[in-house]
Symmetry: C2
Subunit: 960 residues, 2 copies
């Protein structure tokens, strides 16, 4: 937790520390100029789930401020507030959690920070000014410019940077820098960033938790072992040692670490003594401080600081110990979090359309669960299994509640008396299971499918659902039949469906669908269309029959031919005798590229010096899957699209078989092309060059693990003519180990712990009747080759579609009268308005006071796309066509203060060697209250709170 747990105990000190007669220590010291100032920052670090679940930590240790009011007496609450007001207890970072910086989507990071910041503002009237990411395992550019500078922080502190980087920075006194994380936003979104010299713990021998064995200050001369001079000398020596690697005469001592201050007295008693005696000694000045006091002291020196760009990935804490495994650890959880993130975004929109319920179900639980999921031990995949389970359970409960909101909202908008079924079943499409669509239509019923589009653009996509009846037809709300396709469910898919149903639901599904029904659908921005599926008497449906549109290639069937599949002018070329992707043709773009796809795996190091584990990736040989083990794959030809169904689960099983020999393994997919350049990859695509770090000369000891980077949105590489892009459906690790080759780590299964605290092997299994096998994860990766300079459009705009898929809702209806009594098509915006192609509405949330929090994100960096890397404009009036806006207030990213106020307070740090004036960055101008147009410069995210005229009664009309 960013809000540090000492508070209960601080209250003691006020009882303890101010009495007369017995020894009273003088701890009133302030900063002394001309002396080395040792800022003692009492802190503790409570993970909201790691070895124990968040609730276990909470009930054990009172760590979660979110709930603090319920469990503390009014007296204690009052004392806490006093301590906060006096500055003795400082609220820093202030999100619901200290999020990871590799695995979370930036929208989730923003949401969770907003949740915490607004709570703190409301409860304590405090706006945190300090970023405190002391535990995450590497630090992202997004954390620096977006989640620090854009929330109004004045500094950002962290502990974990690469050991080689750290050594050089200590040498050059450049642990503290000004960090400009965004190429597009530059100095307008910079932050003073300090990496600690070693970790976020006290210097050696200054640990004072209950049972710690650092020598206490024994200052009672009437007892034995009086040691004040020795302890003061040690203090001074440690301070001078730190001063030696630090600019200015201020050093910070992080007096705490994980799960400390259970009994704060043990710490404060010793710190009282140190401050008293060290200052009596006089060589250095020791004081109770906070990160804020430290930051202001640093700023007051008026120094210029080294400039830092890009990020702090990957992280290694020593040779052969690259923390790049966790980029992929627990891919199922990572996928679930991403799915829930999208659902939450859509659900809030529908919650707003309906009007937020004060008593009924709302999206708050899902918001909390998602916030906890962003914790650096959660989505990162490095908690214990039971904690990961708890994280998933919370998401599931949150989803159930949010689904009720969606259901109610859609019922309200469609004016349906029968509730739509948007519940959990269709979350299981990944195992080909959707009870709501697997219904018997032979008795004349219609299956009504509402297709909701959470994006601000009109959009088309294929809807694909399992059905049990082969005689079905699909009609739109105009009553026109539309083309649909039936695709036989593969045996392998059915096996997964049955196994996972047994494992997680305790029974097999009651019916077995034979087909996927696929049809092309469309939906207006922030709106829906309705489709009707019914039984047809005659066989009118286009069935992808084996003889005609359906070809199956098995791994045994050695065929010689090359197979080209794909819609229109886009073809993937497969080798049929060794079922592998071997080429890519885009005839529109004149691209014909040899692209090979293969699956391999790394075995993990098992030696005790450093094993591969949940955190650490330390490969010990790469193994190609044997020809016999190559995935069977199926090409399903239809009228509209191609679908690749290379099944990762086959690999997973294969790895399981080999584990006895290899012990540890990471499954990955490799894309090899003839292209040769470096590679880039997030919200910001950062250029990565193999075996290279911009900030220091890399000593390569792990040529694979040391080149792995977190892939959040996708990655691409390019040559002089083309770009090969891969987009992902969840965060993974990826790299390019050879020129022209991209690899993504898909899955990990390990039998050893890597010694970084979790003390549990990352061995995810799924069990039926006590028989367990390795967890199968089904995922999607998206591949495209574009002419040079044209890939960004796909990556950015299609990338947003990947993040925000259609939300489907189902209901059954007797007869065909639905459209007469229901709204079948809807847009939350002015039906004639769409957002610009380079802008996404990433938040639309009704606040408890009826106001609305809205965020727009420009999706492109400067110079990323020749057309779209430009200033964009958004018409608020069109977005809220059904309401009357009376006030628009631009806020900080986390919406806890006005943007103007934030800019006014912000400390302006100097950068070494730069001209006095930082280069001017163009950003969107103020919003004219009359026109209500929001401008967005490349990469800009703008956050607003909007007041509406309260009398406005929302009224929806059938549109489009």
């Amino acid at each position: 937790m960013a809000i540090h747990g000492a508070w209960i105990l601080l209250t003691l000190m006020s009882i303890w520390g101010v009495e007369s007669k017995y020894m009273v220590y003088n701890t009133t010291s302030k900063i002394v100029s001309g002396k080395l100032n040792v800022h003692l920052v009492a802190h503790t670090h409570y993970d909201v789930g790691w070895l124990k679940t968040v609730d276990q930590y909470y009930v054990g240790s009172n760590n979660s401020i979110q709930r603090w009011g319920r469990d503390q007496s009014e007296t204690v609450q009052e004392i806490v507030k006093q301590l906060i007001n006096s500055g003795q207890l400082e609220l820093i970072n202030g999100g619901m959690c200290m999020h990871d910086e590799a695995a979370p989507h930036y929208i989730d990071m923003t949401d969770q920070t907003t949740l915490g910041h607004r709570f703190i503002k409301q409860e304590f009237n405090i706006t945190p000014r300090i970023g405190w990411q002391i535990d995450p395992f590497g630090h992202s550019a997004v954390q620096a410019y977006l989640l620090s500078a854009e929330v109004g922080f004045d500094s950002l502190f962290f502990a974990r940077i690469d050991y080689q980087d750290r050594a050089k920075r200590k040498d050059e006194k450049s642990l503290e820098v000004v960090w400009r994380g965004s190429k597009s936003l530059g100095s307008s979104a910079q932050i003073f960033a300090g990496a600690f010299p070693e970790n976020y713990e006290p210097p050696n021998n200054f640990y004072y938790e209950v049972n710690d064995d650092s020598p206490i200050v024994q200052d009672d001369m009437e007892l034995f072992d009086y040691n004040v001079p020795e302890r003061v000398n040690e203090f001074v020596a440690a301070a001078l040692s730190q001063a030696n690697i630090t600019q200015t005469n201020h050093v910070m001592w992080t007096m705490g670490t994980d799960f400390k201050y259970q009994y704060a007295h043990t710490w404060f008693r010793q710190m009282n003594k140190f401050i008293h005696y060290v200052n009596q000694d006089g060589r250095v000045n020791a004081l109770y401080s906070t990160p804020l006091i430290y930051t202001d002291a640093k700023y007051a020196t008026n120094k210029a600081w080294p400039l830092k760009t890009d990020d702090y990935f990957p992280h290694a804490d020593r040779i052969n110990a690259y923390w790049t495994g966790y980029f992929t650890s627990r891919p199922a959880l990572k996928g679930y979090v991403r799915m829930m993130s999208a659902y939450y975004l859509a659900a809030r929109q529908l919650e707003f359309f309906k009007g937020k319920s004060k008593s009924g179900p709302n999206t708050d639980y899902l918001a909390d669960a998602l916030a906890l999921a962003q914790h650096h031990d959660a989505v990162s995949g490095i908690s214990k299994q039971h904690v990961a389970n708890d994280c998933a359970k919370r998401l599931s409960i949150g989803y159930e509640k949010a689904a009720k909101v969606v259901e109610t909202s859609l019922a309200s908008i469609t004016r349906s008396s029968s509730k739509t079924d948007s519940g959990s079943p269709c979350l299981l499409l990944n195992i080909s299971y959707c009870p709501a669509s697997e219904v018997d239509l032979s008795n004349g019923k219609n299956l009504v499918v509402v297709v909701y589009n959470p994006l601000g653009w009109k959009r088309e996509d294929v809807v694909r659902i399992p059905v049990i009846d082969e005689n079905v037809m699909v009609k739109d709300h105009g009553g026109n039949e539309i083309k649909s396709q039936l695709l036989p469910l593969q045996k392998a898919s059915l096996a997964i469906r049955n196994y996972y149903s047994m494992a997680y639901l305790g029974k097999s599904p009651s019916v077995t669908p034979k087909y996927w029904l696929a049809f092309s659908s469309s939906a207006p921005p922030l709106g829906f269309n309705t489709y009707f599926i019914s039984s047809r008497k005659q066989k009118e449906t286009t069935i992808a029959a084996p003889s005609e549109n359906h070809v199956v290639y098995g791994s045994k069937g050695k065929q010689k031919d090359v197979i080209k599949v794909g819609p229109g002018n886009l073809k993937l070329v497969y080798s049929a005798n060794q079922p592998k992707l071997i080429g890519y043709i885009s005839s529109r773009n004149m691209i014909k590229e040899s692209v090979r796809q293969s699956y391999s795996f790394y075995s993990g190091a098992t030696d005790t010096q450093q094993a591969s584990g949940a955190y650490i990736f330390r490969p010990n040989g790469m193994y190609s899957t044997k020809p016999d083990d190559q995935a069977s794959f199926t090409v399903l030809r239809g009228p509209k699209y191609i679908r690749e169904s290379i099944r990762g689960y086959i690999r997973s099983q294969e790895c399981t078989r080999r584990r006895s020999m290899l012990n540890l393994s990471s499954l990955l997919v490799l894309y090899r092309s003839m292209m040769e350049l470096g590679k880039k990859f997030g919200r910001d695509f950062l250029e990565r060059i193999r075996d290279y770090r911009k900030d220091w000369t890399l000593d390569v000891n792990q040529p694979v693990a040391g080149n792995y980077y977190p892939i959040n949105l996708g990655m691409y590489m390019k040559d002089d003519n083309k770009e090969l892009s891969v987009l992902v459906d969840r965060s993974v690790g990826g790299t390019s180990i050879k020129d022209g080759q991209l690899e993504l780590m898909l899955h990990r299964r390990l039998l050893q712990d890597d010694g970084r605290g979790v003390a549990e092997a990352l061995n995810e299994t799924v069990c039926v009747l006590n028989k367990c096998s390795g967890l199968t994860v089904v995922g999607k990766y998206y591949l495209k080759i574009d002419p040079l300079g044209e890939g960004a459009k796909w990556r950015r705009s299609f990338g947003q579609e990947i993040y925000s898929p259609f939300l489907l809702a189902f209901t059954e209806q007797e007869g065909n009268g639905w459209t007469n009594s229901h709204v079948a098509s809807f847009s939350g915006m002015d039906p004639s308005y769409v957002l610009p192609d380079n802008v996404a509405m990433i938040t639309l949330k009704e606040l408890n006071d009826g106001k609305v929090l809205i965020r727009f994100a420009h999706l492109y960096e400067v110079e990323e796309d020749k057309d779209l890397s430009v200033m964009a404009s958004v018409q608020l009036k069109n977005i809220f066509a059904h309401k009357k806006i009376i006030k628009v207030t631009e806020m900080s990213l986390s919406a806890n203060q006005g943007r103007a106020e934030m800019e006014k307070k912000r400390l302006v740090w100097k950068v070494e060697g730069s001209s006095e004036e930082a280069p001017k960055v163009v950003r969107g101008g103020p919003v004219d209250p009359a026109t209500l147009v929001v401008e967005l410069a490349p990469m800009e995210i703008r956050t607003f709170i909007i007041d509406f005229e309260q009398k406005t009664k929302m009224s929806y009309v059938h549109c489009c």
Copy 2:
């Protein structure tokens, strides 16, 4: 500590527990009749030295009440007092420490308890009513009748009893008994005594220290893992399980253990919840309780309890794990404690004669040090080495201060301007080192020796000191030369002298004495005589020359003769060719007995299941010392006495040599006679029968270790005609493994830990220049054979002389005029008065208010001696001949309340199966204020506080 450390933390609860709004637990429950009452007793156990020194525990953890006032604010002090007054914080046991019950002398136990009890009375106005000996490793009869009943306790609780005994008592519900520890005092000194069912910890799964892993009560239904029903069920089950082995419907849960309640909140929070929810459940009644509340509840049931006599020694916690090693562990420390105990007794007398100094040196530090030394991890020998060192260091400092008192007092009484030298040097007589006597007298100086007798009897004894000059003579204060003897210092003695001087003083003594000068001296009761040692021109001294009075037998000199040595009609018979004691002749008593003495050692078990260690004695074979290794011995014939100098150090070295093979060893001495009976051994000699326990049928698994008992004063065995007695100079372990054979364990050296917490092997070494060898310990054992029924006089009266040797003080004087200007003979009592033979004055101490604390002990049990087991009378007027007594108040043993008040309050417990009236015990009657005669019945100890007329100016006269 007996005063339990929770108090700081209890104060929190008063802040925490009484607020509104958040969850408030109902913890107001009291005893409910008709339900099972579960008394939750929050306690912690802070050893005053064990793994850390007392100061280390204190500064780490605030555990010592003695110092509490200095380190706590007035507010906290006030809260503590309120909690004590309300009964929430109870002061129990209340000594300075929780003394051991095997190794300490009862005088030391009494002194340390008095120190604590009077402090508590003064500071808190509290008289503890509960004995709480939860940790000592076996329980003595003296603890029951003397240190419990006679201090006014109403109950005594402990945890460690033999596992076989425990099993039977659980079965028979006789863990709680009425214990009559004294045959002589019977029901007049009985105590309700409860052994806990397992240990002094909570039931399994109810541990709540910071970091303990018992499940907390999770009662927040809004969080996961709500477990109130499960936890309540577990609570009820544990309570019923305990009720099943306990009489009445009251059970005590000891909610704490060693070094707990560092953060009391962690315990009280859970106990609050248990009390609340368990009482809501209603099957049992849970309440915050104390040992006193529990005791009163037990008493209120009006039940009769099983009777227990004798004691709870030896202790075994499981098969093969007899805690009988510690009876001898650290014999040097045990000897040092005993020596200091005697010195303290004498020093207080001299302090009283002079008048206690309010500012100058006093005996308080030695009192504190001795009190701490009685702790069950101190004199018991089972602390870590550094803690044992700390204990010895404190004694040493205390001695230095007390020696100043002695010096000043003697100077004052003798009217000497030159201070006597009663400092530390002559504590080293055990290594033949006494700088004060090793002076050059050739220049005509006199060495003045003041011989002080702390006993109430006139007394003669041999003074033996090292001298450097062979031409010396000794005169008494009348100027008459008295017979003296010079005994050559043995080479072995000089080697020890030099080695230990180097080891502990860092240098060899500057001179090397050649002789022991021995002369017979006498001193009046509580008084001194003065002797003068000077150089004689001619050789007038009787030198024990080898040719005449001095015969040396070495181990190599194989001689065939039998050698009889000894004064007058008492002869020890030695075999000269195998230098061993083989017989004993007392011609006066017509005793001629074959007695053989030999040295052997036990190797210790080393297996991991149970090794021999500091606590546990588990022999693995007994080894006789080989003939070659037999001790050399020296018989020094002189005019007055025999001296046996079989040197234990030879054994110790021998054992050291063999350690590589045997690993662990205990050195012992065996006395074998033809006598055959069982054996007895303390203040009370308890009958011990081999392989037998009175309270249960013993399952013998350790035929040696299971028969070892603590020997504090001595042991004896007898047959139809004779008694063979051995007295000891410190506490040791001893037994009789075969009929007619006595053995004493002299020394222990072990290379393995025995797994009972100290985690350090008992391997005492002494080092010079980094070369270490096993510690040599020099001790004395006293052997006598008497006709049946006559041994008690020697054991009791001579035993008191062993405990209280002469105190020697030295000064140098030019010329012979000492007696003209000094008081050379003195008695603190009326010179014509001596105490009866069966009474010892065990305490004479001036209190800070000028009053005097005095204790008399009858030394004999009923029926122990035909002449002396009778009522005795002491004339207070004669004792305080120099002062006017204005008031005599009889007190409880620990002098914290009037004896009459104590008797009035005492609970009278019923005993199963006994008649309503317990047999009448005769005790001394009230003290008539006119006659001031104190009567003492057998074994009675009476304690008085005496007020004197303050104007009385003490005036000493030359006496005797």
